[in-house]
Amino acid sequence: MSPQTDPPLVLEVSALAKRYGELRAVDGISFEVRQGEIVGLLGPNGAGKTTTINMLLGVLAPDAGAIRIAGIDLARQRSQALACTNFAAVYAALPGNLTVAQNLRVFGLIYGVARLRARVASLLAEFDLERLADTKCGVLSSGEQTRVALAKAMLNRPRLLLLDEPTASLDPSAAQLARAHIRQLAREGGCGILWTSHNMYEVQEVCHRVLFLSRGRILLQGDPKRLPQEHGADSLEALFIRLAREPLSAQAA
């Protein structure tokens, strides 16, 4: 993309750092996400992906660095920044003791969604949830819960959407449908998406760009279709495995 045609930035992360005692969970990372772009945040378990997502969601304060969402400083204007953000994560299921429609109404109010009744109806239709509207979320299948989580994540028409392993518990068919839907959201909804996944096939299919995170640092970034070739690997998965197993000294070099 040329500077003249670059879509606006929806996320700017600069020198972000977080320590837990001696452990540097996130070690001064910087990256950006633009409107309509899907960026994959990859890395082995414990690489710092979820810590990074938690800081972007404002539930974990960084030790250093800055986060700007749609140009708004998260540290200074938390509420305004989070009003244009939303997320879905496999470990953050919506309360199972409320129905699908109740959860959407409650979170719609919390996000300050205008014309909430119409917005909820439209999301129920868009995510094929109409027949489940009065079903408690706790009894839904994994695929249905993912659709509810994505519907909730789209309530406020976010500029930045954070998806932490959104297809982790889905069968291949449901995962394929979810991926198609998320791509459509980026294309038509105009939001930038930060996506974490351990499924390299999925990452190559969906992401425009990936960031390889290991031990809290970004080791590589680029187009997931070209990166393996550029680094002498057979596939993105092979590159992932090589980077994940590399000793810290080699990474530093």
């Binding site: 810590t51 969601l57 539930v59 299921a93 309360p95 919390i110």
Partner: protein
């Protein structure tokens, strides 16, 4: 402070209560049992004392007022615990919701649930045991105000405790009112207490209410200065409780406790 996010917190509790008889029952069952139990005890005491003291008014009235205060605290704390039980912190706190709006939503829930309990208690105490709350006159207004504000303060503090100490600390919260009640002179004058307990009583706003209630029922005028002190103290303690909650929340965000709450500690 925006109203819609507060309404969201309140609506969630409404949905939960509406859809669950086990949440509806505690709103009035325990207070009703308390009123029935103390109603018969006071009726018996009235009979054996030869009507020298009006036990119905002094003891049953005290039970009713104290139950009102504890119901507010429990209503607010239960609303907070719903987020703990359903592991909902990430969903709630990763939103534009401000911490003051979250606390306000909890307070609104506490008010709504405790009013139900208060109405049931008043009806039962009046119709079954002849308690006339109107005999307390205008003093009833500051009485309820102090207990209401103190109940909220206690609920906010209890929620801060659970946020800081983890989900298992829930058991520390429920006995809090029982732990404080001996100091507050719910059933006896503060002068009955040893000096050190009287000192503690002076910083607990409900003790001013129960002392004044006994004065009024004995035919004396309510001590306006004492009640004003009770109101002021309860407001100060509410501000302190909110400050503690905000400080604990800030610690939870800095330390990672909020993001990893199920681990109970981040040490």
């Amino acid at each position: 402070m925006r109203l819609r996010p507060i309404a969201g917190i309140l609506l969630r509790q409404f949905y939960l209560i509406r859809g669950s008889p086990v949440r509806v029952l505690p709103m009035f069952a325990w207070v009703a049992i308390d009123i029935v139990l103390w109603g018969f005890i006071t009726r018996y005491l009235d009979a054996v004392s030869g009507a020298r003291v009006n036990f119905v008014a002094t003891l049953l009235g005290a039970v009713l007022l104290w139950d009102f205060c504890t119901r507010i605290m429990q209503g607010l704390t239960t609303a907070f615990l719903e987020d703990v039980w359903s592991r909902n912190f990430l969903n709630v706190f990763a939103t534009p919701l401000r911490i003051g709006e979250y606390i306000s939503g909890l307070v609104a829930t506490g008010i709504a649930t405790s009013v139900v309990g208060l109405v049931i208690m008043l009806l039962l105490a009046t119709l079954a045991f002849g308690l006339s709350f109107l005999s307390l006159g205008l003093a009833l207004v500051p009485f309820l105000l102090v207990l209401f504000v103190f109940g909220i303060a206690l609920g906010v503090l209890a929620s801060a405790m659970v946020l800081r100490l983890g989900p298992a600390s829930e058991w520390l919260v429920w006995p809090l009112p029982a732990l404080l009640s001996p100091f507050m002179g719910v059933f006896y004058p503060i002068s009955t207490l040893p000096v050190w307990m009287q000192a503690v009583a002076r910083v607990l706003p409900p003790s001013y209410v129960f002392e004044s209630m006994r004065h009024v029922l004995a035919g004396q005028a309510a001590d306006a200065a004492s009640l004003a002190a009770g109101v002021l103290l309860s407001v100060i303690e509410l501000v302190i409780a909110c400050y503690v909650f905000v400080a604990v929340y800030g610690y939870a965000v800095r330390s990672g406790l909020l993001a990893r709450y199920s681990a109970e500690s981040v040490g």
